[in-house]
Symmetry: C2
Subunit: 462 residues, 2 copies
Amino acid sequence: MLNNIFSLIILQSLIAFQLGAQSDSSVLSSFFKTALTQDKAYADLHDLCKKVGPRLSGSDNAARAVLLTQQLLKNAGADTVWLQDVMVPHWIRGGKEKAFYEPASGSKTILPVRVCALGGSVPTPLAGITAEMVEVQGLGELSKMDPAAIRGRIVFYNGAFDQSEMETFEAYSKAVQQRWGGAMESARYGAMGVVVRSMSQHVDEWPHTGSMGYNDSIVKIPAVAISTADAENLSKALKQNQHLVFTFKTSCQTLPDVRSANVIGEIKGSEYPNEVIVIGGHLDSWDLAEGAQDDGAGVVQAIEVIRLYKTLGIKPKRTIRVVAFMNEENGLRGGKEYASQAAKGDEKHIAAIESDAGGFTPRGFTLDVKPELRVAIQKSWKSLLDKFEIGDLDNDGAGADVSPLKDTCPLLAELHPDSQRYFDFHHSARDVFENVNDRELEMGAAAMASFVYLIDRYGTNP
Amino acid sequence: MLNNIFSLIILQSLIAFQLGAQSDSSVLSSFFKTALTQDKAYADLHDLCKKVGPRLSGSDNAARAVLLTQQLLKNAGADTVWLQDVMVPHWIRGGKEKAFYEPASGSKTILPVRVCALGGSVPTPLAGITAEMVEVQGLGELSKMDPAAIRGRIVFYNGAFDQSEMETFEAYSKAVQQRWGGAMESARYGAMGVVVRSMSQHVDEWPHTGSMGYNDSIVKIPAVAISTADAENLSKALKQNQHLVFTFKTSCQTLPDVRSANVIGEIKGSEYPNEVIVIGGHLDSWDLAEGAQDDGAGVVQAIEVIRLYKTLGIKPKRTIRVVAFMNEENGLRGGKEYASQAAKGDEKHIAAIESDAGGFTPRGFTLDVKPELRVAIQKSWKSLLDKFEIGDLDNDGAGADVSPLKDTCPLLAELHPDSQRYFDFHHSARDVFENVNDRELEMGAAAMASFVYLIDRYGTNP
């Protein structure tokens, strides 16, 4: 027994020595090989998706996800794991939504359509809302219309994704204004409710939910998302019949706030324990599916960074802290609470990197940094990262959850994976474990570990 | 009417003038935007997969694919479309294969397993082959064994993909030696037949076929691929029972060669019509599915290059020629015939680029060129290609079909897409249209057009 312990100590020392002598390139290579071979992030994602499932803020499942994530962080080898309390909104969908229309006035044919309430929406009256419909392609078109054409009607926002954008997030950020602002802008003109084309590149049967905003000084009207296939058909029907009558019923509601938590685990830094590198994803998901890509993937990738450090026996100089943020989807309360607490302590946050763009093959990182830091990072690290095809550092941006750290943290970033398939799944019932490829997920985890490794080793003055 | 024609001519002249003044970057950008917006390569792929389907060399479907591809090339705007005769092998699978084993000797339990004959295999006797089994992890292990342990047995090659490889093609090229050489090597020692673990990263239910070799001086024994899930279970059962008896039955056969064709279409060059840039994929597929990724994707991407030139009104200086090669999968007769004819003419082939690694998001191109040409290409074009995330030019290789041009053509290349999901589908019943993402496919087509554009504009001495 003693012999075995001594052998183990000698073996670990040898590994540590060899790692010290290793080039950065071989460390990064070990991250990729280990993640791909052990496939542990994928196993964690399986548990989060299949043992918990959908985990909208305030739900019982979100509470269960907090417990599971604590355990996953301990299993991965975090020195310390704790919860950070945060009060979150508690919106519930209620019963299954219904919607239908009469393609021809007074016809007996009634076409059902697939819709889901937008997150945060008020419900319709019990009988639903029935009204004539007016179609627009976006907020810009609405703002130019005669208010009389809107009053008493349901506004149908049918602006499609711009397919010519190479990055699907660019198309999303243009189209999503309809979802966020559609109800409040329509309400100004006396609309009864809004139907928004789902935020997806593809024409298919799945409605995609997502958060929406209200303006407290304007009446709140209910809003649903409609599947893209139904949106296309509805648009055609409206061209045939301008007096088309549309009905939808929802029973969602907002309950009192609930106490929840960010889940945090870390490896303490050996030289600069007060210098913190935050990595994370958000633990909450929408309620229609398992939140596998959005953002179970990001949570398990961050946890995998700790596991990779532990498995390979690498001791970070700085503290590497995983934060599984609560409530990104409909409030960002977790990200705000973390930043608020971080501002009070004597720790120095030197970098914060989120993964919240899906578990697809990584291409690089978007950065929210001063221009001179971007140049320094590109000059020092790009050629190494390029060897692993993760050297794209040209784009702006950081994860929503780490953005509240902007005033105090010089390096905010987000993992930048291939984006082509993301909106096939995002916020819809298709965002399930089966639609994540294990190798793509693991490569993203290794990419996160690689960037963290360089920041830990060289600081944010590379 | 005349007015309209004049307007059209003026419009086209204006477009042509503007294109002349455009930067290379804006031309490449137009390729991507147009391909993504029009989505025509995807529509062509739909036709190839759903109107024709599987198209193994020598089959009626392969003949139908030839006719359809001629039409697709004409529709895309090729100046000239023709067929190049080529005789191809004609192997057929025959009836559905069967395989099963008794996990315990003399037990009444019989476990069925999912297998498919390897392409080119001889059949088993009508009653099948029943024998004890010996498991090896590859040809190396086999070569070290006592021949007595192999004689009269079925050899089970269970070497798995090396998951630590970042590029799945690297893992494939190591493992596939079992499939190609397994039967001929086992036959040296008197084996009755071979069962080969499917060439896939994942453990699932799908057997993957693929070509195998025989040595004419050694007896030919039948070979099947087994699904990875069944391979795992079989391996466990063999550890429990070294006398496990395995049975498989196949009825495949090789019929006389059949006359078939490469399908060729081109846009003649305006300045150097005798300088040819070949782009292509292979039109034949395995018989288990629609050959959507392998290699319908490559064929429609090459056709899309012609459509993009025509749509954007770009006139190439050199001749851009699409070749849909026949018989890549089990003979390479099309590629060899094309090169043989090319050597006879007075044309100069300056580049040949195949797409045969799947319709996934492109990352760059593998090159088979002299070192000084690689350096020149990287120096001149990499930074531009990087803007479109297709600047990875570090790897060696070219498509199988263009490789026979090596002696006469200075620049051989292959589109290099993301490889993580390729072997989930490759040569299995899962290689269907539904498993191709339209945007990923179209971006690969735009990448092909981009590389062709630079070669046409600057030649192979950039």
